[in-house]
Amino acid sequence: MSDRMQVLVAMSGGVDSSVAAAMLRDEGHEVVGVTLKLWGGESDSGCCSVSDVDDARRVAQQLDIEHLVFNFGDDFMADVVGPYVADHAAGLTPNPCIECNRHLKFDRLLVRAEALGFDAVATGHHARITPTSSGAPRVTRGVDPAKDQSYVLHMLTAAQLARVLLPIGGLTKAEVRVRAEQLSLRTAGKPDSQDVCFISHAGGGRSRFLGDRIELRPGRLVSLAGDEVGTVESVQLVTIGQRRGLGLAGDGSPRYALDVDVAAGTVTVGHADELLVDGESIGAFTWVDANALEQVRAGGSVTAQVSAHGEPLEVTAVQVSDHEGSTVSVQWAERQRRIAPGQSIVLFDGEQVLGGGIVFRR
């Protein structure tokens, strides 16, 4: 990968992708920046607003590289926002950033880059691509544990990784900011993007966003024994494992959402120990390559990450229940709190991603 390449860098207007573009340029690659216009609606800036496009363009000008804007708004609506709303309507807890990576950054953009003659697409994710002992590429944790984003890149296959560069995964966030300051980039001090980019806090947040698109219905809180213990304003906004916002505080024994049934309009609540499970079932599992699947089938040791910045969990057994490896169940070494259906679980071999998928509803 050290040869001079033509690289299309996805520039969000943030400091990470700004520095990614600068590093590739300094390595001698022919770099073109592109900002994806994904969301035409209201936002709190996030990755979609015009001011972010302005930031990305200005950084590209400072770096003396070309800058393009691709409007993938239709795809974003179809592949990210629509499913996000539909999942909530079904009582799931989706992760739209993962779907954006899956469908937009590493499918739509990757294909277009190839069609335009680029050798690779680069992003400013805090993750690395390292080889296995046999040389196969793996998404690998970034060196800054607090910023590691390998979890949200778990869907990348080896074929895609051959055309992807993650230049800043070897830097800490502090080092990224120092580089940006050295280059006098206007994004050097820009705060990290937070939350879901297409939902505006000023515009009422998640409940308003979903309430404008689906009918949010009140729900009953019931105990495992079936007794009604309270109500909740919108059953579709409850996430399994949630404690706050259920209106059940104060009796000294915190209770959590154990299950959500949108059709019945009920949220089952219980104590923390009732949230504990022995394992999880995962669907739509994607493996980085066939070797990763074989390695797990053969009983190789793995850890699992169940949220964007969660600690890796010890796994005692992994069962792969179909030929393609798309349905997987994991057994925890120690019982863990349930993972909300719709969230992703990613399997690692040490620092390297083997694959990941979406937690099934029980």
């Binding site: 216009k37 496009v53 363009r57 409007n71 708004g73 069609a115």
Partner: protein, 412 residues
Amino acid sequence: MCTATGTLGKVSAYLDHAATGPMRPEAVEAMMPFLTDRFANPSGAHRWARDARRAIDEARDELAELLGADPGDVIYTSGGTEADNLAVFGATRAAAREPGRGQPGIAVCSAFEHHAVLDPVEHLGGRLIGVDHLGRIDLDELADELRAETQRANAGEGPGVRLVSVMTINNEIGTLQPIDRIAKLVRRHAPEALVHTDAVQAFCWTDIAHITRNADLLSISAHKFGGPKGVGALVARPTATVHAVQLGGGQERDRRSGTQNVAGIVAMTTAARLAAAEREANIERLGALRDRLLDGLLATVPDIFETAAVYVDGVSDRTQRAAGIAHVCIAGVESEALLFLLERAEVFASAASSCASGAMEPSHVLAAIGVEPELAKGSLRLSLGWSTTTAEIDHALAAIPGAVAQLRRFNV
């Protein structure tokens, strides 16, 4: 830059003159004194100020003549968008101030106006009139709308139509609109309404004086005909009262406050003079190059469609459109991707209008004339201007088929 030979000695084709074009060298020369020695403010009370004032007054006389208007009709603006906004907001506000009226009146425009008209009309809650698949306003629908609103007004049930705005030439697809017939309909069915036309794309391609004859208000923009950016004019005939949108020092007879762009106005007038003098010759020369380009593309690129084409005996009749605009839709490609490959091949063109972010938005013009959304994604506008050469056209003809083929291999 804007010749057939680019900076690196490579052949370039700049085919985005409908967006903007290079200034005429004579216009650059004409503006220079007013950027240097003759810099004074035309509103001032001293001799240097009077020198600047004289320059914009002389320019106003000449521009008025070229536009078929009286000098007092010409309101200098910062460009086409301001002229359009002043027409729509200014005319409806003036109506609201009329004694015994108190209501602004309805603004009506075609569905494929430039956003500089469309957005003000929509802001005022106005009406949009449909456009047919050949890129012409639906005159029957316009007449129906005007009749209905006039009846409502006469019955005391509505404010009536105050402004009808239809562009002289559509900026994306280049179709010429029948301003004379539109004016007749307005005079007959809504006699209190004013006719505005956004003639921003028209100056090089049609005799504006002929258009002005039928309009009460007309917008132009200097950089579309070899002048500088940031200057334009609204022609407001004596039949049209416009109230200022921008308040301040009361320049332009209280219709547009703000110090006039003296250098820009002088350069605009010089460019207008040249464009008008060369209009007939350019229509012939550039129309032939446009045909060479379009016919060449239609012959070499599979599944390409000339937008809003009018066929007479199997031959595309392009007489009712701007000689300098070629618009096609190419099946199975996306404009964003195509434009990038074209710029790599030193062909500079455009697709639909761009938004502030630089992202390409789906074209409301193509939607209005009924182009399928899938096909509209592959839109390409190639626009010619005074500096366009045969070599540029041939360079584009050589580059485009290969770029299309490359994208089709990836289906993007």
